[in-house]
Structures are given as structure tokens and as C-alpha cells.
């Protein structure tokens, strides 16, 4: 049935369409006529914002869902007609990576090897290689549930590789993983493709990852915007990408915000103390206004050009239909009352020798830092670094073992309640009531913060307006799209006009567009004098911060402005490092020193990976129970 041309393709799709119906009855075009070819032996990335159709496309290829129209052949087999044959030959790692948390690392591997019919001889040959690649060797007896996020992801990948699949499908393999683990995972994937000519299709919302792939497919709202080598996408921004220096005394993020609001600018992000921006075709006149320098376009720049074009098309269509809504535009979050603009010398948060012990385990080990009023302060670190624990202590949710902790001038040891009135906290997970509507959620949180009468009404309408939630006020918040949920969480945390806002990994799993929107709001808040303390996995986001702290294993490794931290990692004169390079260098250096000093080689006494999970599972119990 299949012709030669088809069998040389790993995947071939023609005019694929798939719609879903939301609980509200709204129909969503997950895939709207997508045609694509993926050759054997290539690494292909599906990129696009949330709701682009990446997961839908991958699931169609696995034969777990079926298209409404169009044809899709995988490895020369019509998936809809014979899904089992495809499932016998491919491997797939879903977003939740499909591990059994109550089975050990070895038992998970054995299970998938048994299901795939891998013989014992093959296992003897393959297991050592998998262990070497994933560095899971010392942990084979550990329950998968007790591994860190990054290690789970590596185990998930190893389970798909118990035999050589003809096609490997990975759905967002690096989401929520810290930069170190992310790099390790990519090393494995690249090795597989290079050494074994494995065909891999993966989806990602990290645009720097797409750049490493041989082939990219850009999806947006169910349509394919581009299909080709990453360089082809980058080339779309050629001649239009520049680096601009902020004027003296002005922050890069202020310039970035100003540029983003300019209709002639497609995209702008802070980078290394400067601002990288992509202009329209006729961008040249921007040069007259400020000092700019042409830059080599990256994939992200080309991607933003593509999305911008597509958004403009949609905008024209929408304005014809009369439901136009401009993007944030000029965001001058009008904040009444106690907020006064600008960074001031006064320290809002003072942390000195902060220690938090769980049994014998030091989650936070003599941490000291200060945050000044109106600053954006970043807390960076790999999984298990102690960021969340520090955060909880700062918010008065967890008592410190020792050390001093002053928030908004109040010692948290004595006056937690009054400190809480002055802070807003947005937790890592969406922690609003899914069944309540947007307005009901705001109403509830306003009451919880003791707002009444006119003030309450004022603040609620402020929140609905500033976060553009007005049209969605009557929608149950559980049904909001990802980016809006996050806006609502922020709105709720700002109702009582806190002086300090704490955000715990607010952008984890959020697509590039929503992340820009989010930071646009954060910088606007900071301009109004709100102090913002934020943790993040995206190192490029550290560029938005005034100052950052890098933590690992409960200790502060580096502290300072993003530029200072970057310089710390590399000597003068070397190439300009990115924030991510700097972060990885600093953490690895510290880990090396640590293992040299305290522990002999091959003695991972303090295992940096598992601590976070273990702590969460048995709060207060001594951690470190290893192999079962």
C-alpha cells in the first residue's frame, strides 16, 4: 500500500483537521488543515504558543486520538487504520512522562522492556548504556516518585529507549526542568540523533531548544506558520534585529517596555544590560532616536516575526468582525494610595543568616540578602535549591529555624499577620477556586483581605480593568486559558495593594507570548514602586531583574545585578556569556568544590536532586532514605 516515497518519511500528514469542544460548548480548532513531512533520521521540533496544536499533533501520530479529516501516515502506516502497528514501532513520552512513581527506577525500565518484548540479551547490552547516558546508575533502586523533576524526565526518556524505536515522540520533555537538567536531557537527545540516526519529534515552548533541531515546525492556533530549518525562520528577522543601549540612568527593561509599546516594533527583550529588538520592515528610522547596533537574528526573533504577522492577520479579521482588543498597549497601571514609584534605598526585605532545617537536612543554609523598595528581585536556582522554602519563610507560611527575617519593616517571627497584610503571594500552582467565576474569586479574595464597601468595589474594578479580565468576569476561572489564569492570580494577590509581591515560578509552562505580557505587567508594577520577588527557571528572565541571587543546595552562590553575575562566571575579555551559561557555570563550580571538600569522590552524600521532593513528602522528617 505504501509507496517508496512514503516509507522514507517518518511522518506524513495531509490537511489534518481536528476540533475539540470545550465544556462551555465552544468549539476549538486544535489543528486546522496542517500538512507536513518529517524525514527519517532527523530531529524535528514543534514550536508554538499554548493552544497551537502541538500536543494534538503528537497524539494523533501515536494513534491515541483520531483526526476529523485529512490523512496521517506514521512510518508508512495509516495511523487511523492500524494504530496498534504504529504503537508497536514508536516510543512516546507524554507530558506527564508516564512513570510509575511507586516503582523503582529499575522496575520502571523492566516494565517497559517487558511490554516492548526486549530480550534479556538485549537488556544486558542496553541498560548499561542507558544508565551511563542518564547518570541514573546509582539510583536504580530508588522509587521514581522520589526522584527530582529532572531525573524523572531522564528516566521517562530512558523508558522510551529500552529498545530502538523507529520514531521517538516527546511532548514537552523539558517543561518545568531547571537549566542544568535541561542541558543534560538535550545532550542525551542530540547524542541519540547523531549516533543512532534516531528520528525524533518533540514539542517545546523553549525557543532556544528549537534552534538545536535540524527541522522546525511552527504552529500557531492550529495552523502551520513555517516548516524548515531553524535558520530559515531566523532569517525572517534578518536586517531587522538590533541591540539598543538604554540611555544613561535608564534601565534596560524600561527601554524594553517602551519599545514593546511602539507599534513599529515586533518584539523586544532585555539582554545583557541592553535591549534586543526586532522592528518592522521600515525600522531604520528607529536608529535616529537612539544608539542601536545590528544583531545576528536568532530563532526567537524570526518566531516573533511569524507570530506578529499571523496576529496582524487575525487582528484585521477580528476588527472586521468588530471584536478587536488591543494588546496591553501602554500599561500605566494606575495605582492609587501607598505606592510610590522608583527604586529606593530603603530595604523592604531583610534576610540575615536565615536557616531552615528539616530534621538533619539543611534546606536553607545561612542565607542573607536584602531587597530594596521598588526592586525586581530574582531568586534563581536548580530544583531543590531551597528557593521555595525561602519563599515560604518570607511569606510567613513557614517558621525559620534561625536567623532574622524582616519584611516591610516587620519581624516575621513576631508579627506575621501584620506582615501578611503588606505582601501579596502568587503560588506556583494555580491556587484559585476553579468553580468560581473570575469576579467571584476576586470578590472572595477582597473579603479575605478585609476590603469592604467602596474600596472593595474600586479595587475589584481596578483588577478587572488592569488585567483585562472584564469580558471574562463571568467565566469559571478553571476554564480560563493558561495566561489568563495567571493574570487572575496576580490580580487577586494585588487587591489589597501590597508593598511587596512574591511570585513563585510564575512563568513555568507559560508560552513566550504570555511570558512577555507577564513581564510587561511586572515592570509596570515595579515602576509604581511595588517590590517584586520572583523565582524562575528561565534564565533569560533574570535580565528583567534589578538584582538576582543564585542558590543551590540551600546556599547563596552569587548575588548582584544580572551584569555582575554574568561577569562573575566568565573572566573579562571572554565572549559575552548568556545568563544561562553563567548560571550553569556558577552552580557546577560550587558543586565541584562542595564534593571536593566535604565528601570523597563518588560519595554523593548530599544528593542535590531529591531533597525538594523528600522534604515535601515527609515534612520535618530526616531526608536521605535512599535505595529501597
Amino acid at each position: 500500500m505504501s509507496t517508496d516515497a512514503q516509507t522514507t518519511l517518518a511522518l506524513r500528514g495531509r490537511d489534518i483537521r481536528k476540533t475539540f469542544r470545550r465544556a462551555t460548548g465552544e468549539i476549538i480548532n486544535a489543528l486546522d488543515g496542517v500538512s507536513l513531512d518529517v524525514a527519517h533520521g532527523t530531529l524535528t521540533a514543534l514550536v508554538g504558543p499554548d493552544g497551537a496544536g502541538k500536543t494534538t499533533l503528537i497524539r494523533l501520530a501515536t494513534g491515541l486520538i483520531f483526526a476529523d479529516a485529512g490523512e496521517l501516515t506514521v512510518l508508512g502506516v495509516d495511523v487511523a487504520a492500524d494504530p496498534q502497528q504504529v504503537q508497536d514501532r514508536i516510543s512516546y513520552m507524554p507530558q506527564k512522562f508516564g512513570l510509575y512513581e511507586d516503582l523503582s527506577v529499575q522496575e520502571n525500565l523492566d516494565l517497559y522492556a517487558d511490554l516492548h518484548g526486549v530480550t534479556h540479551e538485549e537488556r544486558r547490552e542496553r541498560y548499561p548504556r542507558l544508565m551511563e547516558m542518564t547518570a541514573l546508575g546509582p539510583f536504580t533502586g530508588r522509587l521514581a516518585g522520589r526522584l527530582s523533576g529532572g531525573m524523572k524526565q531522564k528516566l521517562g526518556l530512558a523508558c522510551t529507549l529500552v529498545r530502538s524505536p523507529e520514531l521517538l515522540l516527546l511532548d514537552e520533555p523539558t517543561v518545568g526542568v531547571d537549566p542544568l537538567s535541561r542541558r543534560e536531557l538535550w545532550d542525551i537527545i542530540l547524542r541519540l540523533v547523531n549516533d543512532q540516526e534516531l528520528s525524533v519529534i518533540l514539542s517545546t515552548s523553549y525557543l532556544d531548544e528549537a534552534e538545536r533541531c535540524g527541522h522546525v515546525i511552527v504552529l500557531h492556533e492550529g495552523k502551520m506558520l513555517a516548516h524548515g530549518a531553524p535558520a530559515e525562520v531566523s532569517a525572517l528577522a534578518a536586517g531587522r534585529t538590533f541591540l539598543a543601549d538604554p540611555p544613561m540612568g535608564k534601565l534596560a527593561r524600561a527601554l524594553q517596555a517602551q519599545l514593546l509599546d511602539d507599534p513599529g516594533i515586533v518584539d523586544a527583550v532585555p539582554e545583557g544590560g541592553r535591549v534586543r529588538f526586532v522592528g518592522n520592515e521600515n525600522v531604520q528610522d528607529e536608529g535616529k532616536k537612539m544608539k542601536i547596533e545590528a544583531a545576528e537574528p536568532r530563532f526567537e526573533d524570526g518566531f516573533m516575526v511569524l507570530l506578529h504577522k499571523s496576529a496582524q492577520g487575525a487582528k484585521e479579521k477580528r476588527s472586521r468582525e468588530g471584536i478587536e482588543k488591543e494588546r496591553p498597549g501602554s500599561l500605566s497601571l494606575a495605582l492609587p494610595g501607598s505606592w510610590s514609584p522608583g527604586v529606593q534605598e530603603e530595604a523592604v526585605v531583610q534576610v540575615r543568616d536565615l536557616v531552615r532545617r528539616f530534621g538533619v537536612f539543611m534546606a536553607v543554609d545561612h542565607v542573607s540578602f536584602e531587597v530594596r523598595r521598588g526592586e525586581i528581585f530574582g531568586l534563581l536556582g536548580p530544583n531543590g535549591a531551597g528557593k521555595t522554602t525561602t519563599f515560604r519563610m518570607l511569606c510567613g507560611l513557614l517558621p525559620a529555624t534561625s536567623g532574622t527575617l524582616r519584611v516591610a519593616g516587620v519581624d516575621l517571627r513576631y508579627a506575621r499577620a501584620s506582615a501578611r497584610q503588606r505582601i501579596g503571594y502568587v503560588a506556583q500552582k494555580f491556587s484559585l477556586y476553579g468553580q468560581l467565576t473570575v469576579a467571584e474569586n476576586l470578590n472572595f479574595f477582597a473579603s479575605a483581605y478585609n476590603l469592604r464597601g467602596l474600596r472593595k468595589r474600586d479595587r475589584m474594578s481596578w483588577a478587572l480593568e488592569q488585567f483585562e479580565l472584564g469580558p471574562l468576569a463571568d467565566l469559571p476561572s478553571g476554564q480560563l486559558p493558561g495566561g489568563y489564569k495567571q493574570r487572575l492570580a496576580m490580580a487577586a494577590a494585588l487587591l489589597h495593594e501590597p508593598e511587596t509581591l512574591f511570585l513563585d515560578e510564575p512563568t513555568s509552562g507559560v508560552d513566550p507570548l504570555a511570558r512577555r505580557d507577564f513581564w510587561r505587567r511586572i515592570t509596570a508594577l515595579a515602576e509604581q514602586g511595588v517590590t517584586v520577588i520572583v523565582t524562575t527557571h528561565f534564565m533569560e528572565e533574570a535580565e528583567y531583574c534589578d538584582r538576582v541571587v543564585i542558590m543551590d543546595a540551600g546556599r547563596v552562590l552569587a548575588q548582584g545585578t544580572p551584569a555582575e553575575v554574568r561577569r562573575r562566571a566568565y573572566g573579562e575579555g571572554e565572549r559575552e556569556p548568556t545568563m544561562e551559561d553563567a548560571f550553569i557555570a556558577i552552580v557546577e563550580e560550587a558543586r565541584e568544590q562542595n564534593s571536593d571538600q566535604a565528601l570523597g569522590p563518588g560519595q554523593p552524600g548530599r544528593d542535590p536532586y531529591t531533597v525538594e521532593e523528600e522534604r515535601e513528602q515527609n515534612d520535618g522528617q530526616p531526608a536521605g532514605r535512599g535505595a529501597a
Partner: protein, 382 residues
């Protein structure tokens, strides 16, 4: 385990995959404290609770005997209350004290033997006054019957001693078939078996498929050579074994702890238990596959399997005394047939006229639910 040499033959490949799934599921059962709690701890707790604690028998009823007549006949009557295992009798001489104790609910009944009791006894119209605390009507009725029984025994003893037969209080002969001692544990312990089989079969399994959906393991599992029937069997077998362990615990307790009489054959008992366990497993798996959420599935499982097994199976409440409409509903409750089988096998014996139709219904139900579950287990995301 199938060796490497067998690779290639589809039958062996199937067997190997199934074995891998069974082993995986068993490990999860052993490691999951909630499975152990429901599968092993709960049966033990329920058996002890129903066997010792929650007896429907009325025993050691605190009763005040007010003896106002010092004659030997009256004393003898009072003594028969003191000796009765059903009463915990305290002898008093003042009615006022007795009433105080009744009001304080220190006693549940007062037996008053008036000063003229012996005189009236001679005349043949002797009366004793029985005052019963009536807040629990059922309890009160049982006390009345017991009191009559105690008086009857006293009268019978007098008659046996050659004294004149009584024309007074009526002698009541209590006799309950198949439960001569009227020991409620004789029917409660078989009932516990039904509850435990329902919990392990339906409640526990209602969680296991939904859990795989929630954790995303189902999605990963689907994209392997595994077939839907293997997934289904891989879930059924470990919980079937767990259910049989629960059954064994119950039977041992019934036999050696509570000495429940066992009149039928072990084969019929085990066979009918297997049938019911299969019905419960299939229902649990169906609920779990269809709902894909542990919370909802467990609630539904309690509602459609456990509660009917308690209320509508004839285990606690007599089916014949139910309104006709409710009685019709009980015919679709699988536990009803199992309770009938158990009570027959335990207390009456192998009565094939009862066993065959009930077992046939259970077989039909098991087949039906497994067909439905197999249909619900598709390698497809909703």
C-alpha cells in the same frame, strides 16, 4: 517468565506482557498503604467489629428487680432474672430508687414484684410489672420478650418440681430457625464477607484505572505493543488474588474466632465468592475506566456497589419487609444474590435449588460487566 527463546510467537509475547503488567500492579498494591489498608486491615477490623462489637443481640441488659415480696416464690423469680445471661439484674427493695435509676438510664427496665405476689400466685392471677425504657423501640421489644422468657423458665421449673402449673404469665417459647442461639454474629460474619468482597472488588479497583489516567501513565502505556485486554487482565488478576486473601481471612475468623456453623461445602462457598468477586471487579473497573477521575470514581463506586451491598442485599435488612418498589430494585443488586448464597451455605447447607439460580445470575452479571469494561478500555484518549 517466558524465556528469550519464545520471542516472536505472539502468544508468548502476550503472556510476557501480561505477566509484566500483573507484576507491576502487584508491586503497586504491596507498596500502596491504602490498598493494604482496604485489602487486609479493613477485613480484619470489620470482622472484629461485627463479630465482637456490633452485635445486634441484646445481652446483659441492666435491669432493676424490685422485690417487695419476701416469699421464696418471689425470690426465686427474681433469681431467674439474675441468672439469665440476657439480664444484668440488680435487686432493689424500693421502687423509688429503681425509678431514679431508670431516669438516669442506669437501667433499661424495672421488674416489680409486688408484696401481694405470692397471694395472687396462689389465686392463679399473679402479676409482675415490667417497665421498659422505650426510647429504642426495637430494644424494648426484645427486652419484653426476654423478660417473658425468663418468667416462663421460672414457671417451667416450678412445674417440673411438681408444684401447680401456672395459669398466670404465659410461657413463651422462642425458637429461631438456622440461628437457634439467635446469635446475630452467625449472620453478620457472612455479611462482612460481602462487604469486604465489595470493597476490594469494586472500591479499590475503581481507583486503579482512574489513577493511571490522572498520572498520565495510561497514555504512555497505550503507546506500546500492549493490548487492551492485557491491560484489563493485568488489573483484574492482582485484585482477584487480594480479594481471595480477604475471603480467606474472613473464613478463618468465622470458623475459629466466632465458631459460625458451616453447613454447606467449601467448594460452593469459594465458587460463589469467586463469581461475586468477578462481578465486583468488573463493576469497579468499568466505573474507573469510564470516569477517569479517582475522586469521582470512588464516590460512584461507594454509591452503586457498597451502599446497596449494605442496605439492599438482605444482609442487615430483611428484603421481605421492604416495600415492593424497593424490593424490585434489589434484584439488580449483585450483592443480594451473594448474600443469599452465603447465608444458605453457612447456615442451611448445600441447597441446590437456591445455589444454582443465584450463581447463574452472578455469572450473567460478571459476563455482562466484563464485556462493558472491555468496551470501555479502548486505546484512545477521550
Amino acid at each position: 517468565m517466558a524465556g528469550a527463546a519464545s520471542k516472536g510467537h505472539p502468544f508468548f509475547a502476550k503472556g510476557r506482557r501480561l505477566w509484566a503488567l500483573v507484576r507491576k500492579e502487584s508491586r503497586q498494591v504491596v507498596r500502596d498503604p491504602s490498598s493494604i489498608a482496604i485489602g487486609i486491615v479493613l477485613p480484619v477490623v470489620l470482622i472484629l467489629l461485627f463479630g465482637y462489637g456490633l452485635s445486634l443481640d441484646v445481652k446483659n441488659v441492666p435491669v432493676a428487680v424490685v422485690l417487695e415480696d419476701p416469699a421464696p416464690e418471689a425470690t426465686e423469680l427474681a433469681a431467674s432474672f439474675q441468672l439469665s445471661p440476657y439480664f444484668d439484674a440488680a435487686l432493689l427493695t424500693s421502687m423509688v430508687r429503681a425509678q431514679q435509676q431508670m431516669l438516669a438510664r442506669k437501667v433499661d427496665a424495672i421488674l416489680r414484684i409486688r408484696p401481694d405476689f405470692t397471694r395472687h400466685l396462689a389465686l392463679g392471677d399473679a402479676e409482675v410489672q415490667l417497665l421498659v425504657h422505650g426510647t429504642d423501640a426495637n430494644h424494648a421489644r426484645i427486652i419484653q420478650v426476654y423478660a417473658q422468657g425468663a418468667i416462663g423458665q421460672w414457671a417451667a421449673r416450678r412445674a417440673a418440681e411438681g408444684k401447680e402449673a401456672l395459669r398466670g404469665p404465659v410461657t413463651v417459647q422462642n425458637r429461631v430457625w438456622f440461628n437457634e442461639a439467635n446469635e446475630s454474629r452467625y449472620f453478620l460474619v457472612p455479611g462482612v464477607i460481602v462487604l469486604i468482597m465489595t470493597l476490594i472488588g469494586a472500591f479499590l479497583t475503581s481507583l486503579v484505572v482512574a489513577r493511571e489516567w490522572e498520572r498520565g501513565t495510561m497514555e504512555a502505556m497505550f503507546v506500546t505493543p500492549v493490548r487492551p485486554d492485557e491491560i484489563l487482565l493485568g488489573k483484574t488478576i492482582p485484585y482477584f488474588v487480594l480479594g481471595m486473601i480477604g475471603l480467606a481471612l474472613c473464613l478463618l475468623a468465622a470458623k475459629f474466632l466466632f465458631h459460625v456453623p458451616f453447613r454447606g461445602s467449601a467448594l460452593v462457598l469459594i465458587g460463589s465468592s469467586m463469581l461475586y468477586l468477578l462481578v465486583a471487579l468488573a463493576m469497579g473497573l468499568l466505573i474507573s475506566s469510564a470516569l477517569k477521575s479517582q475522586f469521582v470514581a470512588s464516590q460512584v463506586a461507594l454509591l452503586v456497589t457498597f451502599l446497596p451491598a449494605v442496605m439492599l442485599s438482605g444482609f442487615l435488612f430483611d428484603l421481605r419487609s421492604m416495600p415492593a418498589a424497593v424490593r424490585v430494585i434489589t434484584y439488580i443488586v449483585p450483592a443480594r444474590y451473594y448474600v443469599t448464597l452465603l447465608q444458605t451455605v453457612f447456615l442451611a447447607g448445600d441447597i441446590w435449588a437456591v445455589i444454582v439460580p443465584n450463581a447463574a445470575v452472578l455469572t450473567g452479571m460478571a459476563s455482562l460487566f466484563f464485556v462493558l469494561t472491555r468496551r470501555a478500555t479502548q486505546k484512545k484518549l477521550a
